[in-house]
Symmetry: C2
Subunit: 488 residues, 2 copies
Amino acid sequence: MLKNWNKPERPEEEELEERLQAARAKLSVQQMQIKEHKLPVFVLFEGWGTAGKGSILGKIIKEIDPRFFKVATMDIPTEEEKRKPFLYRYFVKIPEAGKFCFLDSGWMDEITKGCLHGELKEKQYKERIDSVKRFERQLTDNGYLVMKFFFHISQNEQKKRLKGLEKNETTSWRVSENDTWQNKHYDKCLKVYDQYLSDTNVSTSPWYIVDAKNKKWAQLQVIETLVSGIETALKNSAMAVPLLQNVFPMEKVPKLSEISLDKSLTDEEYKRQLKELQDRLGMLHNELYLKKIPVVIAYEGWDAAGKGGNIKRITGALDPRGYEVHPIASPEPHEKARHYLWRFWNRLPKTGHVAIFDRTWYGRVMVERLEGFCSENDWQRAYNEINEFEKELSDWGAVIIKFWVQIDKDVQLERFTDRQNTPEKQWKITEEDWRNRDKWDLYETAVNEMMKKTSTAYAPWHVLESNDKKYARIKALKIVIEEIEKVL
Amino acid sequence: MLKNWNKPERPEEEELEERLQAARAKLSVQQMQIKEHKLPVFVLFEGWGTAGKGSILGKIIKEIDPRFFKVATMDIPTEEEKRKPFLYRYFVKIPEAGKFCFLDSGWMDEITKGCLHGELKEKQYKERIDSVKRFERQLTDNGYLVMKFFFHISQNEQKKRLKGLEKNETTSWRVSENDTWQNKHYDKCLKVYDQYLSDTNVSTSPWYIVDAKNKKWAQLQVIETLVSGIETALKNSAMAVPLLQNVFPMEKVPKLSEISLDKSLTDEEYKRQLKELQDRLGMLHNELYLKKIPVVIAYEGWDAAGKGGNIKRITGALDPRGYEVHPIASPEPHEKARHYLWRFWNRLPKTGHVAIFDRTWYGRVMVERLEGFCSENDWQRAYNEINEFEKELSDWGAVIIKFWVQIDKDVQLERFTDRQNTPEKQWKITEEDWRNRDKWDLYETAVNEMMKKTSTAYAPWHVLESNDKKYARIKALKIVIEEIEKVL
């Protein structure tokens, strides 16, 4: 794209000034429209060192009220960030509905640096490109406007700027080692950038190459593009997007109605196995820690199916310094204002740690679907989005274990009644539980569809037959142990 | 405290088992009471390496539902954390109302390590102790239960344990360099620990030294102490606490009524000075970045006083990669569930960065006071708590600049009317603004009291006369430049 790039024609000074005034004024009006339409706008500035990303960013945000934007400067990843999936530090930065986030260098910079310095081999590069494309598409599909700018200057221009900065005492610190390296290896960089731009230039979040030689001209290109992008996006609110075909390898799962629930264990057998399996899991936890392998365990199931007690038998075996249980309730306002996976990205474990989710991102295709908290297009798209999310985790090296805790309707009624009649348990039962029970059949349909569409080979569902809780606990422990042993 | 410690007498095995059962059962019941009473419980586990903090923590959380607790393991600070004030990483971890947070090693560990390895000199140690005492008191004063346990074992016992761990392949990695060092320098450590425990043993958050030689016995000591601490705290909800006398050096500030508002600037003079001052500030921003000095700028003032436009003139001079503006609205649920300063601790800048707050922590003594969102004891205590908060920032090396943007009542009316009549500005005016205007006199009293009680020598208030916005902007720029120049 850079090689065959048609440099836009720079207008005369007077026209430039006029258009700049007009574009600024429009942007200033648009910030309120963005707020009203709850449009989140994610703007990525990439490009050559010294191309002026920072200073143009400075000009642009002058037009915007501080209530409506954030700026994030992405340096090289911290040690903490390196212990999360590659996309983590970008996903957690996505803006809220109605606001801008400007990123000064982002995932392009990280990936192309990786290529240039030999840290990313061909295969990993391709994985990264896939991740990035999914990430950007997940955002745009969920109503985000993603605008990507590449600030372009020639090798000579960069050299001139580097010299200028170095000469001046107060600016010499701005010249990074990387900038100098880049200028020396300009052609090599150009090739890598060009490849990256082509690989990620999609119609829903296309690249804009900015002629950055002249600052005012660069500013005009960016603001005009931004304004036109926003204009388009504002016309498109509540748009449905095509559903993608599944591209991931799938595993077969039974329908809920096919699952036999008469499995049980004697007290004695339970106690014996519990002790043995917990000891084993405790040892494996040490090994996971040493080998820095992250584990994500997801629990879904009927109300009163015994999720909590089941989780306790897992955590009972673990070192408390190495795991966290995340009980998932309805999202808080700042969570609701973002992509529905955002709050789960925020709760990922570090490498070597275990995160257990008591209810999960599958809420999107169960409660949010059935209660109409999202559109049909939203939840239908979510199966693939979730498969992609779990693919990220799997590529990162995580062990992913998903449990559906199954009981029948009679057992649920028994347990609800018991909770209602036992003072210490009353807090566990709410009106909502009874309402959900009324929708059993609808839920069953949704669960069957969910399990069918999200049982990928890298993150299949496991059903825990929990009419007998003891049986379900032992089965869960066995599966966790087995899945961990596979990777050790 | 360790030297003269009276080891509690260990009960016979049978009694121990009985008491353990009873204590566990109580703790299990208490988790619901804590939730109902919205009591936040912060539990700190400190002590010798290999004393069993982790494994006992594991036992205790078995009694608690994962919805009601978090565990945080505090390792050595990350690079990111090192660029925040010392207390930052602890303050952001405080539990929500109704929940537990268990800390596996915390501020004691960090401080005593600093002493033992010569990183903290006598003077800094004393500063740290002051910080810790204020921190713990701010929590307990605001209704937190803070329980501190020190796990004690003898040098011989520790040596035995270290050897045991080292022998076993699956546990040898648990022996840290620090543990070995500790055992070799046991007496030296003992002295430092003893000093720390004495220095921070206050009645509102006293230390409990746990005889940790026997695990089950240690567990009993911890749970029984925890249970009794919680019992006490539950009796005390909505308690008022004594107001502390001011101990910080203060500066005199005028009353609002004494401030003359007839200052103004011509357009020409304004433009000339603006350019000059912004250029100067831009240069200083570079220097701040290089010298890693953090800056905190706080804006308070009447509605429509011109805070937003004033802030824009400051940020217009700054590199967008080095500052953030935090518009402060009413707290979200997860913020309201914590100490009122929590959301500000979370928004502190890194060293070398500038954070600008559009409205601030002073909401506690203005809107929260006047609208009754907190008790009288709460807001009266807040003056000192805020002075302490700013002292932390100042000790950390931050430049703190606080602006009160002042206008008179007539000018406010003019601007309100103008906003109401100008379509692009209507979003800036709400019913609430009119309601607040009705309470002008009450606010004026509150503001006068606030400025008088929180104009410390290290963080004094500056009044910006803003009937003429141009005058106020130039004055703000001058003050910011002056305050920054003082530290460069």
